[in-house]
C-alpha cells in the first residue's frame, strides 16, 4: 500500500518536473522552427526556382546580383556597360514573348520546336537577357550562356534598402527599411509614453489618495486588457483622420499614428513597472530627504527618482519590447510603405506588420515565405535581447547590490 503511494508520488513529481520545463521547451521549439524555416532563405536561388537567366555567349558578363537583375528588368539599367559589360544595349526577353513572335504551328504541336526557337533568338541578339524556364533551355547550348544561379546573400538581406518580395524575376529582400521602421515607430512611441507614464507613476505612488488609486489602478489594468485590434480600429477611425487634418497631410496613416497608438498601449507597462520601483524606495530614504528640509517634490526628484532609476529604465526597456512586437494596431494605422522614413509623418512598415500582411500570400516553402520567417527570427532575437536587458537593468538595483 505504502509502496503504491510512494510510486504515485514519484510519478506525479516527474509529471510536475516535465511541466516545469514547458516554457523552456516552447522557447527551444520556437527557435528551432523559426530558424529552420528562416535560414533556408540563404540557400534559395535569387531568381524563382526552375527559371534561368541566359545571355548571348559573346556577352562578357559572368554573373549578376539580384539588385542588378531587378534594375535591368525594371528598365532602370539599359546598357550592359552599367553592370560591367560591353557598351551594348540591354534587350529584355521574357518567356511569354515567344508566343507573340511565333505562331502555334511554328512552335510545334507539343512545343517540340520551342527550345530551338529560344536558342535562335538568343544567338541572334548579342545584347539579350532572357528569363525562361530551365526545362526549355535547348539541348544545343552553343551561343547561349546560362548565368550561374546566385544565392540570396546575408549581406543583401541586411544591407539592402528594397523590400519588394513579389518582384519578378528577382524578388528583393532588403530588411533595412523594415528594421528602421520598427525602431523608428517604437522609439518615438516611448518618447511620448515615458513622460506621461512617469508622471502618472509618480502621481500614483506619491500623491494619489486611496480613492484615486482605486480608480486609477483598474483603469490601467483595463487599458492593458483592451485587445490590440480594438486599439488599431480606434486609431484608424479616430486618430488617422485627426492627424491628417491637424498636420495637413496627404494621408493620415503615418509613423506618427502608429507611435501614438503604441504609446497608449505601452503606458500600462511603463506605469506599473515604474510605480513598483518607486514604491520600493525605503521609507528611511524619503524621511531622510524630508528631514534635511527638502519639500515633497524635491524629495521625489532628488531621492526617489534617482533611487528607482533602474526600475524606471526597466520600464522603458519593457515598453520598447511591447511596442516592437505589436502587430495589429501598427498594421492598421501606419500605412505600410516599405521605405526608409525621413520624417515621422510618412507611412512606414514594421517587421511584425510585414509578417502579418504578407505571410498569407507567400507560398509555403518559397523564398518569400522563408524571408518572412527570417524577419520573425530577427524580431524574436530583438525581443529576447530586450528581455535580458530588462533583467540585467533591474538586477543593478542599488538595494540588491546592498548599497
Amino acid at each position: 500500500m505504502k509502496l503504491i503511494k510512494r510510486c504515485i508520488e514519484r510519478i506525479v513529481e516527474t509529471i510536475l518536473t516535465a511541466g516545469g520545463m514547458i516554457t523552456s521547451v516552447i522557447i527551444l521549439l520556437i527557435v528551432i522552427f523559426l530558424f529552420k524555416e528562416g535560414f533556408g532563405l540563404f540557400n534559395s536561388p535569387s531568381v524563382e526556382k526552375g527559371y534561368s537567366l541566359c545571355v548571348n555567349t559573346e556577352n562578357p558578363i559572368e554573373k549578376l546580383n539580384p539588385f542588378q537583375i531587378k534594375e535591368i528588368f525594371d528598365y532602370e539599367i539599359d546598357n550592359w556597360k552599367n553592370v560591367g559589360g560591353n557598351d551594348e544595349e540591354i534587350i529584355l526577353f521574357r518567356f511569354e514573348e515567344l508566343f507573340y513572335r511565333y505562331s502555334d504551328e511554328e512552335l510545334g504541336e507539343n512545343d517540340e520546336f520551342l527550345s530551338q526557337k529560344l536558342g535562335e533568338i538568343i544567338r541572334a541578339t548579342p545584347g539579350i537577357i532572357a528569363y525562361l524556364p530551365t526545362e526549355y533551355l535547348s539541348s544545343d547550348c552553343s551561343g547561349i550562356k546560362v548565368l550561374p544561379e546566385a544565392k540570396i546573400s546575408v549581406g543583401d538581406f541586411f544591407g539592402r534598402k528594397e523590400w519588394i518580395p513579389t518582384a519578378i524575376p528577382a524578388p528583393q529582400f532588403g530588411v533595412l527599411p523594415l528594421i528602421l521602421g520598427t525602431l523608428w515607430v517604437s522609439i518615438f512611441a516611448i518618447a511620448i509614453a515615458l513622460p506621461l507614464g512617469l508622471g502618472v507613476a509618480i502621481y500614483l505612488s506619491e500623491l494619489a489618495g486611496e480613492k484615486m488609486r482605486k480608480i486609477l489602478k483598474p483603469t490601467i489594468e483595463l487599458l492593458a486588457g483592451i485587445p490590440s485590434v480594438v486599439y488599431g480600429f480606434f486609431g484608424l477611425v479616430v486618430l488617422v483622420p485627426l492627424i491628417q487634418k491637424l498636420f495637413h497631410l496627404p494621408v493620415g496613416e503615418t509613423a506618427f499614428a502608429g507611435s501614438l497608438i503604441l504609446a497608449i498601449m505601452a503606458l500600462p507597462t511603463i506605469i506599473t513597472v515604474a510605480e513598483d520601483a518607486m514604491q520600493n524606495t525605503p521609507r528611511a530614504m524619503r524621511e531622510a530627504g524630508l528631514a534635511l528640509g527638502a519639500n515633497h517634490w524635491q524629495t521625489i526628484y532628488k531621492v526617489i527618482i534617482p533611487y528607482s532609476v533602474s526600475g524606471i529604465s526597466a520600464a522603458v526597456v519593457l515598453g520598447i519590447g511591447r511596442a516592437i512586437g505589436e502587430t495589429m494596431a501598427v498594421l492598421m494605422v501606419t500605412g505600410n510603405a516599405a521605405v526608409i522614413p525621413h520624417t515621422i509623418f510618412e507611412p512606414v512598415r514594421t517587421i511584425p506588420a510585414t509578417i502579418a500582411a504578407e505571410l498569407g500570400e507567400a507560398p509555403s516553402g518559397g523564398a518569400h515565405y522563408q524571408a518572412l520567417f527570417m524577419l520573425g527570427c530577427i524580431l524574436f532575437l530583438m525581443t529576447i535581447l530586450i528581455s535580458i536587458a530588462a533583467e540585467v537593468i533591474s538586477k543593478n538595483h542599488p538595494q540588491r547590490k546592498g548599497i
Binding site: G199, A208, L267, L379
Partner: protein
C-alpha cells in the same frame, strides 16, 4: 518660496496626467460604446454576416472565439498550473528554478506574431493540422502559458509556509499537502489568473491569422479540424479590407463593442472574484 511654487506646478502636472490616463480610457471606451451600442441587437448577435459583411450578424465569429477560448483553456490551464506548482513547490531555489523563471519571462515577452509564425510552422504545416481550431487553440494556449504560470505561482507563494509544515506535521505527504491544503487555499487567486488569460485569448489576432481564422465562413464549426471566424480577426477584416468599408463601419463598431464587453466582463469577473474570496478568507 520658489521651491513651493515648483512643487505646486509639478504636482498639478502629475494630477492632470493622472486624469489624462483615465480620460484616455473613457475616450476609447466611450467612443466604441457610443457608436456600437445601436448596432447590438438580437439579430446582430445570432445572425450570419450578409451582403459582403456589411449587414447581418456575427454569430460565426462569436462561436469561433468561444471555441478558441475553450480549446486554448483545455491546453493551457493544466500545463500552466502544473508548471507553476513545480517551480514554486518542488524546484526549491536553485539555479534550475531561476533558469525556468527567466525562460518563462522571456516567453512572456515574445510578440504574439512570433507565436503565429511558430504555430503555422509546427501545427499547421509540420503536424499537418491545417488551418483549424486545434492549431489555433494550441498556438493561443502556448501564448497564455506565461501569464497563467506567473499568476498561479504568485497565488501559491501567497500561502504561508506554516500551512505546509502543518500539513506535513500531520503525517501527510508532500503531494497530499499540496493537494488538500495549498491548492484549495490558492484556488481563488489561481482562478483569477485563468480568467484574465481568457480575456487575453479572446482579443488576440496575430496568432490566429495563419493558424485558424477564416476571412468569411458563414457556418458553424462541426469539428476541431474546421476553420472558424473569430471576433478580433473579423474586426480587422471589416475595418480594413471589406468590400465596402463605409458600409461595414457599423458592423465594425458592433464587433469592437462585443469584443470589449467580453474583455471587460473577464476583468470585472476576476476583480469581483478576488474581492469576494478575500472577504471569505478573512471571515474564517
Amino acid at each position: 518660496m520658489t521651491a513651493k511654487t515648483n512643487q505646486k506646478i509639478a504636482f498639478c502636472v502629475f494630477r492632470i496626467l493622472g486624469m489624462l490616463v483615465v480620460g484616455l480610457l473613457f475616450w476609447i471606451l466611450g467612443f466604441i460604446i457610443y457608436n456600437g451600442i445601436g448596432v447590438i441587437s438580437w439579430e446582430f448577435l445570432t445572425g450570419y454576416p450578409t451582403a459582403g459583411m456589411t449587414s447581418g450578424g456575427i454569430l460565426p465569429a462569436i462561436v469561433g472565439t468561444l471555441c478558441l477560448i475553450a480549446g486554448s483553456s483545455i491546453i493551457a490551464f493544466p500545463l500552466g498550473i502544473l508548471s507553476a506548482i513545480y517551480s514554486s513547490e518542488y524546484a526549491g531555489n536553485g539555479k534550475m528554478v531561476q533558469f525556468i523563471r527567466v525562460m518563462t519571462n522571456n516567453l512572456g515577452g515574445v510578440p504574439s506574431i512570433i507565436f503565429g509564425l511558430f504555430g503555422m510552422a509546427l501545427f499547421v504545416n509540420t503536424l499537418g493540422f491545417g488551418d483549424s481550431i486545434i492549431a489555433g487553440s494550441l498556438t493561443l494556449g502556448l501564448l497564455t502559458l506565461p501569464l497563467i504560470i506567473r499568476t498561479t505561482e504568485e497565488a501559491l507563494k501567497a500561502i504561508p509556509d506554516s500551512f505546509r509544515t502543518a500539513g506535513l506535521a500531520l503525517g501527510a505527504t508532500k503531494l497530499q499537502t499540496i493537494n488538500r491544503v495549498v491548492l484549495p487555499m490558492a484556488f481563488p487567486n489561481i482562478i483569477t489568473g485563468l480568467i484574465l488569460s481568457i480575456g487575453r485569448v479572446s482579443g488576440e489576432t496575430a496568432p490566429i491569422l495563419f493558424t485558424v481564422a477564416a476571412y468569411f465562413l458563414p457556418k458553424l464549426p462541426t469539428g476541431i479540424f474546421d476553420q472558424v471566424m473569430a471576433l478580433p480577426y473579423h474586426l480587422y477584416v471589416i475595418a480594413t479590407s471589406g468590400t465596402d468599408l463605409e458600409a461595414s463601419r457599423p458592423m465594425a463598431y458592433g464587433t469592437a463593442l462585443v469584443l470589449i464587453i467580453i474583455v471587460l466582463l473577464m476583468n470585472l469577473l476576476a476583480t469581483a472574484l478576488r474581492r469576494w474570496f478575500s472577504k471569505k478568507v478573512k471571515t474564517h
